[in-house]
């Protein structure tokens, strides 16, 4: 009874995690007979019922191809698809819905910008600046275009806490720097980068800049106009939305001037074999039938996050981060990798010389899902001279009790390996 009153109290006050968890059907799963403790949120987030329901509703009452039809379903699907775009525009505070391009995810968005915006500008000897803590998605596309154009990649270094050495950016920039592409929050270290500072530096030197927001949109309110970045990219699946959908935000003027990326239906105004006229924004970059259900699901997901409120999300995630950090700091044989002052709720760690993969298996037996490996950030692993880490990444739906279960599982692992 006492418990009940407490619950209903906090429910009215701020944020009732127990209640929020009921929005996520998967959180009731049992793993090896134990309750699932899902701490792999940086890889992909779980989906609330409203998002799953929206997909179902789409297929059961709206499904149709968009843009090209005059019939009822087509109109309904097109409206929902475009309303979702408007929601996302408001969510990131873009100036216009034309600046919101649907893509498969962060990876495709970066490739699109690399190929249609940066590559045409690159000449032999030019350079593109990224940081040492980039995800492979923000390294490989630049390697591909730089290789082709005989340009170079320059790397903003990090310090032993996993913090960006911002003071080095100015030294790296030269008259041959054509682009900067920087991760907002590191997926393997949790570091929150001072992107506003870097954006200012870039623009002071007339260099356009892309921000990889794959890990940041789930943790913090994004205002692309306030940030001032030229491009901002993220994946739906990491922010409660379906797989296969993501967003490229770009300033309208830049997008206008860019050639299309893929050719096909919807991205053209008129086709003859002699001449093809491309469509307006955002359609110029959306060739072919898009992931309609995914886009609508993303619209519902951003609404869900807005309704929760980033303040509430941050409060809960800070609690989890601090609690876990404190516990892990006290554990013998455990070392946290990534101890930036400014940090998201991601805790990467190594255990004695137990390989991350083994840590993953041990935790899994206790129902605890963490990621083990290099997290697609091999240069970070190389910098710390480790093969990989185990990474617990917390979301607003995680609880302090789950951190306890994680800790117990880690202790068991140490016992097995070190006796």
């Amino acid at each position: 009874m006492h418990q009940f009153i407490q619950n209903s109290k906090s429910e009215n006050q701020i944020f009732d995690v127990k209640k929020i968890r009921q929005d996520f059907p998967i959180l009731n799963t049992k793993v090896h007979g134990k309750p699932l403790v899902y701490l792999d949120n940086a890889a992909t987030s779980q989906k609330p019922k409203v998002v799953i329901d929206a997909i179902q509703k789409y297929y059961e009452s709206q499904n149709s191809n968009v843009h090209r039809g005059v019939h009822f379903l087509s109109d309904s699907a097109t409206n929902s698809y475009e309303e979702a775009r408007d929601k996302i525009k408001n969510f990131i505070n873009a100036k216009s819905s034309k600046e919101v391009i649907y893509v498969r995810g962060t990876t495709e968005a970066i490739n699109l910008v690399a190929h249609t915006f940066v590559k045409p500008k690159l000449n032999e000897g030019d350079n593109v600046i990224v940081s040492l803590m980039e995800h492979h998605a923000n390294i490989v596309p630049w390697q591909i275009v730089c290789d082709e154009k005989k340009a170079k990649i320059k790397i903003i270094p990090i310090n032993e806490f996993g913090e960006l050495k911002v003071e080095e950016v100015n030294n790296l920039i030269d008259e041959k720097t054509k682009f900067i592409s920087l991760v907002h929050i590191s997926n393997s270290l949790g570091t929150i980068n001072p992107i506003k500072k870097v954006i200012e530096l870039a623009h002071k030197n007339n260099i356009p800049i892309l921000i990889d927001g794959a890990q940041s949109v789930c943790h913090s309110k994004i205002d692309v106009q306030d940030l001032g970045c030229d491009f901002f990219v993220f994946s739906g699946h990491k922010i409660c939305a379906p797989t296969g959908i993501g967003i490229l935000y770009g300033k309208e003027k830049l997008l206008e001037a860019m050639p299309p990326y893929q050719g096909g239906g919807d991205m053209i105004l008129q086709v003859t074999f002699e001449k093809t006229i491309y469509n307006d924004l955002p359609y110029k970059f959306e060739a072919g039938t898009p992931n309609i259900a995914g886009a609508i699901g993303l619209g519902v997901a951003v609404e869900y996050l807005q309704n929760l409120g980033y303040e509430n999300i941050n409060t809960q995630e800070s609690k989890l981060l601090n609690y876990a950090t404190e516990k892990f700091s006290k554990l013998e044989n455990v070392r946290i990798i990534g101890t930036s002052k400014n940090k998201a709720s991601i805790v990467s760690f190594v255990m004695a010389d137990i390989h991350a993969h083994d840590v993953g298996t041990i935790l899994d037996q206790e129902g605890v899902a963490v990621r083990a490996g290099h997290h697609c950030t091999q240069p970070v692993m190389d910098y710390f001279k480790i093969a990989g880490t185990a990474r617990a990444s917390f979301s607003f739906y995680n609880t302090l009790e789950e951190v306890d279960i994680l800790e117990d599982a880690v202790k068991k692992g140490i016992k097995i390996f070190l006796g």
Partner: protein, 149 residues
């Protein structure tokens, strides 16, 4: 914990901590790269093959306990054995890893028996079989060259 204890048996933990034949050979005639990009396991295996026999073997690299112990147990089992024997052993172990072996003879397997717990961990089968696959690949080539001559 019973499952975990089957996976991380004493023998495995020992071979992980003190892997046998864990060195680069000075004198070798085959070199194989074995890597699992998904978990970052990465080994180089050196072989000295003479007269249809694995005269010497060594490996180096990094990886999880399962892959390292399995590599160590493998090298220990095939050194000084014929290609034929090693290929048969691969086939046997492959069935054991994937849970398809219907008669596991503990005595016959000796310390290799410690690897049988892996079959309960589908996500780890790749770790256990990584070096085995690499070895089998190179032995099959030799074999084919021999038999097609």
């Amino acid at each position: 914990m019973s499952n975990l204890n089957e996976l991380y048996q004493e023998v495995i933990l020992d071979h992980n901590k003190n892997p046998r034949y864990f060195k680069k050979l000075e004198n070798y005639n085959r070199k194989i790269e074995a890597r699992n990009p998904l978990c970052g396991d990465q080994y180089t295996i050196y072989l000295l093959i003479e007269d249809g026999k694995i005269k010497n073997i060594g490996f180096e690299g990094v990886g999880c306990a399962i892959s390292k112990a399995s590599s160590s147990l493998m090298t220990s089992s095939v050194v000084n054995q014929s290609i034929e024997f090693s290929k048969n052993l691969f086939n046997k172990m492959h069935l054991i890893f994937t849970g398809k072996s219907n008669s596991i003879n503990e005595d016959e397997l000796g310390s290799l028996f410690a690897l049988s717990g892996v079959s309960e961990f589908p996500a780890r089968v790749k770790c256990a079989s990584l070096s085995w696959h690499a070895l089998n690949g190179v032995l099959s080539e030799i074999h084919e060259t021999v038999t097609t001559e």
